[in-house]
């Protein structure tokens, strides 16, 4: 194995791929821009939608007289306020109201009085209507609780007796960030970026050689088949890994923008609102150096398998179309590999999970994102990935040595 020739092939492939605009787009821009969109734009949009809904109160038509206590709950209690408008007939209130209420002639205003029913006319196809029903039901529940509390007080019993037992949650692992949507989706995104980043190069370096008719010249040069496969594999790895790491850079940039950019441009209130919205969506980011190193190593290991996985079918394929057809299922495979990670909490501690190729590194990335990085798990994941990479590269070399494959259609 002569390193210089492998390096020459790698250098040429990187040089050629970097001049391809499509490679640049898929490898650099998509992962770099995707993360800021996910971490910044989505929460901002959610926050903006929330504000818009609050400013434009949901309109409710009311037929009949609502008691003052219930009216207060509906239009300005602790629940999102509703805009109540009196109408003659709730059933024919019209489209400008999201919900219409028919209030009975007599409403109970104390416990022990007769029961009554508040009729709510809804548009089941309208999500605002469904949301308004929830607000009304919550307001009615609070109204009933208030009546019960008044009754208990009149009997000399404290209203707190209504809830003799309460619950309180405390984090058992103070280092962990808790549920984090990003911890679930980032490993999948990393897998996909790595695949997409390496895919274009894998196809270009294999069937591209065949279609450009440069393969025969390369094979006639004094470089062994193993060196050619390794050179091509490394070029796929370089692009796949770069793509994955650029995705992580996008995450880092998003963190910085969230910390400083939003506050500077839109003021501290916007920064707090964005942070709250991100936390609500499970997109909050807080990476320590150790977690960052673990994610980078796990990504390198993940990229090594995915690069071999994507290179193997491309070596076999005889055309771009055929290669794309073979490569597409690898994205599904990468997503399937992440499934055990999403379910691992339900199966308890399952050490063998980290030895599984792809799955182990995804689990490591997922753990690192919630501040639960462990060196032993990372080593297991790297070992599993290394074993599969070796097998895949051996298969790629065997395929590349077959005359029937190399000279298919030549």
């Amino acid at each position: 194995m002569r390193i210089r020739r492998i390096f020459s092939l790698l250098k040429m492939q990187v040089q050629a791929s970097m001049r391809d605009r499509r490679t640049f787009w898929t490898m650099v821009l998509v992962p770099l821009l995707m993360m800021p969109v996910l971490v910044l734009v989505m929460p901002l949009l959610m926050a903006k939608i929330g504000t818009a809904v609050k400013l434009d109160r949901l309109s409710v038509a009311v037929e009949g007289q609502i008691p003052a206590a219930l009216s207060a709950e509906l239009s300005g209690g602790i629940l999102p306020p509703l805009k109540l408008t009196p109408v003659e007939n709730a059933e024919k209130a019209g489209d400008k109201f999201v919900v219409a209420l028919r209030v009975p002639a007599v409403i109970p205003q104390a416990i022990g009085a007769h029961a009554a029913t508040l009729q709510i006319y809804v548009d089941r196809a309208d999500k605002r209507s469904a949301a308004t029903v929830l607000i009304i039901e919550a307001a009615v529940a609070r109204y009933n609780q208030a009546l019960l509390a008044a009754k208990l007080s009149s009997l000399g019993i404290s209203p707190s007796a209504m809830s003799p037992l309460k619950t309180s949650t405390i984090s058992a692992k103070p280092g962990e960030l808790g549920f984090n949507l990003l911890g679930m989706i980032l490993p999948i995104l990393l897998s996909i970026w790595t695949l997409v980043g390496g895919q274009a190069t894998a196809i270009d370096t294999t069937v591209g050689e065949r279609e450009r008719a440069t393969l025969e010249a390369l094979l006639a040069a004094p470089i062994s088949r193993a060196e050619v496969v390794l050179g091509k594999y490394l070029s796929v790895l370089v692009f796949g890994l770069s793509s994955g790491l650029l995705g992580l850079c996008g995450l880092g940039i998003s963190t910085l923008i969230m910390k400083f950019g939003v506050s500077h441009s839109f003021g501290p209130i916007a920064a707090i609102a964005l942070s709250a919205a991100s936390a609500k969506l499970g997109l909050s980011v807080s990476l320590s150096l150790a977690s960052g190193v673990q994610i980078a190593l796990a990504t390198l290991s993940l990229a090594s398998v995915l690069s071999a996985l994507v290179l193997l079918p491309c070596i076999y394929a005889r055309s771009y179309k055929e290669a794309q057809m073979y490569v597409a299922p690898t994205a599904i495979l990468a997503m399937l590999a992440s499934a055990p990670v999403q379910m691992k909490d339900f199966f308890g501690e399952f050490a063998a999970l980290f030895w599984l190729p792809l799955t182990g590194s995804i689990a490591c990335i997922s753990d690192a994102l919630v501040g639960n990085a462990r060196v032993g798990d990372l080593l297991a994941a790297i070992s599993g990935n290394l074993a599969l990479t070796t097998i895949l590269l051996a298969l790629a070399l065997w395929t590349f040595k077959r005359e029937a494959v190399i000279f298919r259609g030549v």
């Binding site: 440069t214 025969e216 010249a217 094979l219």
Partner: protein, 253 residues
């Protein structure tokens, strides 16, 4: 001196015998014509010499090296140009040549000198630094030729290399082959265009159905027919071979 020795070479693709006991001996300082109709086995034979295919039986020695055992050393001693061979289109012509110079172990200073020399010989200097994606077929073929001889191999294989080239590019290719022979090298010129072979080749072997049916100097082959053209000789020899094949198959049944 014998540069290439081919001994009882056999190669089958499933049930088809591409080569059937081919034996030849090729010495340096000549243009050796490998002639035959399409499907005669010319490209298969050249690919075995170039270490791209493995024979089922027989052996090939290039400069005393067994092509199956010492493949890398053999590749170092030959250059291959075939029809429609491409270049890396996102690299310039010069970058293409540098890449192959590295693979052939040619040092940077030597590569620069060779590229300058070949630029003059093949008239590629004006556009060698432009991206190869914009080259015409003839321009690409010139880069392919330069790439094949950058390391000054003792054997140059031109496998139907003039296919698809215009008159000027074809003439440049033929001139280059003549000049390369003048350096004492062996040029194997495979073609089914007899006029080209007649102009260029010193010696020729005719392949038919994977077998060598003639192996002589071009002058002797031409002299074997009344009008003295290689095309006429080729036609007569292949007709006789087809007739023999027909008769032997009839005897078999």
């Amino acid at each position: 001196m014998t540069m290439i020795k081919i001994e009882r070479l056999t190669k089958r693709f499933k049930s088809v015998a591409a080569l059937d006991g081919v034996s030849l001996s090729l010495s340096g300082g000549q243009i050796f014509g490998l002639l035959g109709p399409n499907g005669a086995g010319k490209t298969t034979l050249l690919r075995i010499i170039a270490t791209l295919l493995k024979p089922d039986q027989g052996a090939v020695f290039l400069d005393g090296l067994d092509v199956q055992v010492q493949a890398l050393a053999v590749r170092q001693r030959l250059g291959l140009v075939n029809a429609g061979m491409g270049v890396y289109e996102r690299l310039s012509g010069r970058e293409n040549l540098y890449f192959f110079a590295e693979l052939y172990g040619v040092k940077k200073s030597r590569a620069d000198a060779r590229i300058a020399q070949l630029s003059a010989e093949l008239c590629i200097g004006a556009w060698i630094d432009q991206p190869a994606g914009g080259y015409s077929t003839g321009m690409k073929q010139k880069i392919v030729i330069a790439r094949a001889v950058l390391h000054e191999p003792p054997v140059l294989i031109l496998d139907e290399a003039s296919n698809g080239l215009d008159v000027l590019a074809r003439r440049a290719l033929m001139d280059f082959a003549i000049n390369y022979r003048a350096l004492g090298k062996l040029v194997i010129y495979s073609t089914h265009v007899m006029a080209e072979a007649q102009t260029l080749c010193d010696h020729a072997a005719i392949l038919h159905m994977g077998r060598v049916i003639a192996n002589d100097s071009v002058a002797n082959l031409r002299a074997s027919t009344p009008n003295g053209t290689l095309e006429e000789a080729f036609f007569a020899i292949t007709q006789q071979a087809s007739q023999r094949d027909f008769e032997s198959s009839n005897q078999g049944t």
